[in-house]
């Protein structure tokens, strides 16, 4: 388990949801966990929406005070430096979508590389229209990697169709994730599955998404 855990991926691939669930998972293992919202792309549906759940679990949330307000300002919380530079905590960084979102990570890259105790996950949902197969996903993968200035260390298959997702829907994407794994020489570190269908999905490295923020 690395100290710094970075979640990047295509716009709308489910980074925030996976990062949140990962934070809760680390916490349940007894670790001291902080999560930072570095999304400079998305105006709605942010890590901060889960503030209450995070507080209850004792997970520190670093987010801009105006995330989710009318201030549409692409800036980063200064406390992020503290999270990246002081090494007494496990840190989860939720980065905005695509290469544009990944640029936000750039200013922390030197510190992360220097400490060299990180994992950077590529979150992919093969049901998203611009990443329908491994080839399309790989295009996004390299765009993001270049913008971030750090190399990915693993792939998270977060393929889903929202609430309608069936076990078959998830299983159908397993070969696609394997293709991407072969093309990038990186392991599929987890396949996310919602609690409802968790038992029905047959695959390695299943990761249960317990928290599912429901809006309207």
């Amino acid at each position: 388990m690395k100290r710094v855990n970075l979640f990047l991926g295509h716009y709308g691939s489910g980074k925030t949801n996976v990062a949140l669930n990962y934070a809760f998972d680390l916490k349940s293992q007894g670790l001291n966990v902080s999560i930072a919202d570095l999304d400079i792309v998305n105006p709605y549906f942010r890590t901060k929406d889960s503030q209450k759940e995070l507080e209850q679990a004792g997970i520190e949330l670093v987010a801009l005070p105006f995330a989710g307000t009318n201030v549409d300002l692409p800036s980063l919380p200064a406390e992020t430096y503290g999270l990246v530079m002081r090494n007494d905590k496990h840190v989860i960084l939720d980065i905005g979508g695509d290469d544009r979102g990944a640029y936000a990570l750039g200013r922390f890259t030197p510190y992360i590389l220097e400490e060299n105790n990180y994992d950077m996950f590529f979150v992919v949902n093969f049901y998203r229209p611009l990443t329908r197969n491994a080839e399309e996903a790989m295009e996004v993968f390299y765009e993001i990697q270049q913008a971030a200035g750090i190399k990915f260390t693993g792939i998270i298959n977060n393929s889903n169709l929202g609430e309608e997702t069936t076990a078959e829907d998830v299983e159908r994407t397993i070969p696609l994730a394997q293709n991407l794994s072969e093309m990038t020489s990186l392991p599929v570190v987890m396949t996310t599955v919602s609690e409802k269908i968790f038992e029905d999905v047959d695959c390695d490295n299943k990761f249960m998404l317990k928290l599912q923020k429901k809006y309207y």
Binding site: G12, P43, T69, N70, P129, Y216
Partner: protein, 354 residues
């Protein structure tokens, strides 16, 4: 059957527009609709289309005006303040009898307002917005699937009646993600456009696209003719969804995100024994006057649920000729009514009569 994909509402609009044969997009970024432009910027070059980020919303709508005159499917999108800027161009497009799609993913106003969802551009969308006597066909999606379906429907209706159509969504509809089934391009209707400015080939008279008439009598005539067409549209194209209205004593009226919230409230009220139903206008121009007029003879009262200070409520009162009371349940400024708030309003409405 087409396979399902998981899309944001904004992306669904963009992809559906491309599939509807729209190869020309002109816009300017504004939250919460920027994904439409971003998606078009990625996709249009790959299909030989045009994506152009204009220097302003005013430029963008006038580029739409130009392309529409050549008979091509064309669109622009923005959010509330940007749509205000487009109004002059929209009036010119309506005055020139041209089809086009304008998308408004509404945010809180007035003025710069905020980036959170709103429905307070209802008057602007349905009562003109720009100058002169004209209408837009205005569609109000309430799911990501409808964002896609109604984009295509809007192009079809615009072409059919030679007039601009508007997709009136809100920030939530634009930003939320749901599974969508997209249509195959074979299912797309193609309309003949003999009026388009495409070159005469020396075989016919020039087509002229213009909204300026030197003779007032002629201008009056075009207005009369246009309103004859509007009458046909009002008779044939008013769309709505009726939910649990068969035995309803009360009728909730809501569109878009407000209808999603209200549906939950209606179900909750039914569980508490209140006979309530909902009429969800799908077109807000033409407004579904007929089902509301019919409901006015059956129910004891109406509840208009809106993300505005009460705009659609006026159309409800007109459609029902004020036969029954019409109450308002609303949040504004980027806030959304909760199902509990709507339920409370339903109870209050019912409490007055039972």
């Amino acid at each position: 059957m087409a396979e399902k994909v998981l899309m944001k509402g904004n992306e669904a609009i963009a992809e559906a527009a491309i599939r509807a044969g729209c190869k020309h997009y002109f816009g300017y970024p504004i939250t919460p609709q920027t994904e439409i432009a971003a998606y078009m910027a990625k996709r249009m070059p790959k299909i030989g289309g045009t994506f152009l980020q204009a220097e302003s919303e005013i430029s963008a709508i006038n580029m739409v005006y130009g392309v529409s005159g050549s008979g091509k499917r064309v669109m622009t999108s923005s959010s509330s303040p940007g749509v205000s800027l487009k109004q002059e161009g929209i009036s010119y497009i309506a005055g020139s009898d041209l089809p086009a799609l304008i998308v408004n993913v509404q945010r809180g106003g007035p003025g710069l307002g905020g980036i959170q969802p709103s429905q307070s551009d209802y008057f602007q969308a349905t009562k003109g917005g720009g100058h002169g006597d004209y209408h837009l066909i205005v569609l109000t999606p309430a799911s990501v699937q409808e964002m896609a379906d109604m984009t295509i429907l809007a192009f079809d209706l615009a072409d059919k009646y030679r007039m601009p159509a508007m997709l009136l969504a809100d920030g939530t509809m634009g930003q939320m993600m749901e599974p969508v089934e997209l249509p195959e391009p074979d299912d797309i209707k193609v309309y003949e456009k003999p009026w388009a400015v495409t070159g005469t080939g020396k075989k016919r008279q020039h087509n002229i696209i213009n909204s300026l008439y030197l003779d007032p009598e002629e201008l009056e005539k075009t207005n009369f003719e246009r309103y004859e067409r509007y009458k046909t549209i009002e008779e044939n194209e008013a769309r709505y969804e009726s939910f649990m209205m068969d035995d309803a004593d009360y009728c909730v009226v809501a569109f878009g995100i407000a209808a999603r919230v209200s549906k939950n409230a209606v179900i909750a009220a039914r569980k508490e024994g209140i006979k309530v139903g909902m009429i969800r206008p799908i077109t807000v121009w033409p407004f579904p006057k007929k089902p509301l007029a019919e409901a006015a003879d059956k129910v004891k009262g109406f509840l208009s649920v809106e993300l505005s200070m009460g705009q659609m409520i006026e159309d409800i009162k007109l459609a029902t000729e004020c036969k029954k009371k019409v109450e308002l349940c609303n949040r504004v400024g980027g806030m959304i009514p909760s199902p509990e708030q709507v339920l409370e309003s339903i109870k209050k409405l019912a409490g007055g009569n039972d």
